[in-house]
Subunit: 133 residues, 2 copies
DNA sequence: ACAATAATAGTAATGATTATTGTTTTTAAA
DNA sequence: TTTAAAAACAATAATCATTACTATTATTGT
């Protein structure tokens, strides 16, 4: 494996992902790291995110629309996206076994993994708007 | 609603999606329609795909990577992507109720829908390569 | 201190898609 | 069967997120 040298910017990227629960995008991470390192470049953020994902320290969340998000919580869980505010919430993974079992019965080959994302309107938005738009 | 005029190119786009089971991309549809209409433009394909999706005649399939695909089968089903050949297969939707029920119990708001995609290696690829890469 | 090389900033390139603009069809009615 | 309004169109530019490139800077072991 490729040698690794210390990097204060990579540390800053990782520290932010670990401390937040906001599932930030590369751009949001970039903005945050820029406070501490005003000359950091977006490419550096992307490169370090890719690296941290390779080593399993973080997880990349890709959805069907919009930019990728990053998660410092690498434990097994799904996500829920509020279609009003766009916030990403964690969801328990308890149906995972049922899904995988059913999938294996109906699949045209091996089933190695699956992506599952839920959509709805979160309680915060339901409360503040009083409707479902 | 906006008026609709006949369009041979839209007909050709729709006919191809309806007759194939390959879940083609916009570009693949473009290539196909180009045989019959050599001067068709990619923009026309995209515009007509968007239109056909709006009217519910076809479905757009967005995945976490790669271009969107289009499906003439609008019935309720999931998809399976072979990570070796990239082909997209249909999967039964029988676990849908279980997933929605479990989701509603653990969600931070209403649950309106979910996206679920399976990944593995299809039997065709398992057979022809003899391994799982 | 000094090379070897990883990490970086800045910028260019990419791929899929959407937007724009001026021209061509389609359509219904004169 | 012209005509005029609007849809559909081809060609092209613009967009967004991301990756690739290149020359410079920082980190590390000796």
């Amino acid at each position: 494996m490729r040698a690794t040298k210390n990097s204060k910017k990579r540390d800053a990227v990782k520290a932010f992902i670990m401390e937040t629960h906001s599932h930030p995008t590369a751009d949001e991470i970039y903005s945050h790291v820029k406070c501490e390192f005003p000359n950091v470049s977006l490419g550096t953020v992307y490169r370090n995110l890719a690296r941290l994902e390779e080593t399993g320290e973080i997880k990349k969340l890709s959805f069907t629309t919009g930019p990728d998000h990053y998660d410092g919580d690498t434990s097994d869980h799904y996500h829920y996206i509020c279609r009003s505010c766009g916030r990403i919430y964690d969801m328990p993974a308890e149906v995972k076994d049922v899904i995988m079992k059913a999938a294996k019965a109906g699949a045209p080959g091996t089933v190695e993994s699956h992506d599952l994302v839920f959509y709805g309107v979160c309680r915060d938005c339901l409360k503040s708007t009083g409707n479902n738009a």
